[in-house]
Symmetry: C2
C-alpha cells in the first residue's frame, strides 16, 4: 500500500459526525482509526515517515511532545515504533511538579496548557504530536511552552488537518506535516 | 540489562513527591520515566514481555484498552511496538459517539468512565493498560465496561503497582501484571 492508498484508507475509516458539537460542524472522530489494528499501523507508518530525511535516515530528535489527551496516544505510538522520550503537555492542574503555564485564546474564551519545568533540557530537539489541526491555537501554545523551556521544535505532526480553518498559518514558522486532510469542515 | 536491572532503573528514575496531593502520601510521578528515552524503552520492553507466552510466542490479542490519560500513552507505546488497535476508555463527556458508561466509587465520592459502544466487538481479546495500580477502582470499572461490550479482558497491565493499597485484590479475577512496585505508599 503506497502513501496515497494508506491515507485514503485512514480517511475512509474516520467517523464523521454531523452537527457535533454544534450545528454545521462535521466532527472527525478518530477513535475509529485508533481502534482498527490496520489503521493504527498505517497511522504510525505515515507519521514516522515524516521523520525521515531525504537520504532515508531518521532526523535527529530527542523527544516527542504529546498534547493531552489524544496526542499522548500518538506520541506513545511513535515512541514505541521509533524510540524517544515523551513530554506530556497537559491541561491545567494535572501535573504534580514545578510547571510552566501558557494561556491562549479559543474561538470563545480562553484555555491553558502546562508542562513540567524539567521536561525539556535547553537545546533538546522536540517533535510536537497531536491528533488534529483545526485553528492551531492549542498546538501554537504547546510549541511556545516548549520554546520557553529552551527546547527546539523541529517538527509539528498531526494525524488530521482541517485546512479550511487555517491552522497552518498560525504555525507557519514550524515544519508542519499532517497525514490526512478533510476539506470543507 | 536483565529484568531486575531494568525495573531498578525505572524505580530510580521515578520522581517521588512527598505529601502530594495531601500530607502523608508519596506521589509517584511517572513523567520522569516517560521523558527519558532509555526509561521509556525499558518500560515498553518490560510491558511487552508480559505479552509473551512461555514458548516465546506473543499471546493472541486484538486491542489495547488505555485508560485516560496516561494509559493512552502506554497503550500507544505498546501498539507502536507490538501492533494492535487502541480503545480509549475516557472520562465522562469526552467521546462524541454512542457510549456505554460506568459509575464507580472512589475513596471520597464517585467517578465515571465511558467507552464507545462500537469500540469492541463481542469476543475480542483486550489488554487493559494503565500507568499505576493504586486501589484498583478505576481499572476494575474499565474492565467491567469492556465486558459489558462483550470483550474478553485477557490481561491487565500496569507500569507501577502500589501493593499496600490492595488493588490486586479487587482485580483478582484478571491476569494482572505490573512492571515495578513501590511498597510503603
Amino acid at each position: 500500500m503506497n502513501h496515497i492508498e494508506a491515507a485514503n484508507y485512514l480517511k475512509k475509516v474516520t467517523r464523521s459526525i454531523n452537527d457535533f458539537p454544534k450545528k454545521g460542524i462535521i466532527f472527525r472522530d478518530l477513535t475509529t482509526i485508533f481502534q482498527d489494528r490496520k489503521a493504527m499501523k498505517l497511522t504510525l507508518d505515515l507519521l514516522s515517515d515524516c521523520l525521515m530525511e531525504k537520504n532515508e535516515e531518521v532526523i535527529s530528535y530527542d523527544k516527542f511532545a504529546g498534547i493531552e489527551a489524544r496526542g499522548f496516544l500518538l506520541a506513545g505510538g511513535l515512541s514505541g515504533k521509533m524510540g524517544g522520550g515523551i513530554v506530556m503537555i497537559r491541561k491545567p492542574g494535572k501535573l504534580p511538579f514545578k510547571k510552566k503555564r501558557i494561556e491562549y485564546k479559543l474561538e470563545y474564551g480562553e484555555d491553558a496548557l502546562e508542562v513540567h519545568e524539567d521536561a525539556i533540557k535547553p537545546g533538546e530537539r522536540i517533535i510536537v504530536v497531536d491528533d488534529l489541526l483545526a485553528t492551531g491555537g492549542t498546538a501554537e501554545a504547546g510549541c511556545k511552552l516548549i520554546e520557553e523551556l529552551g527546547g527546539v521544535v523541529i517538527k509539528v505532526l498531526f494525524l488530521v488537518e482541517l485546512p479550511d480553518l487555517n491552522g497552518r498559518k498560525k504555525l507557519q514558522k514550524y515544519d508542519l506535516e499532517s497525514v490526512i486532510s478533510f476539506k470543507g469542515g
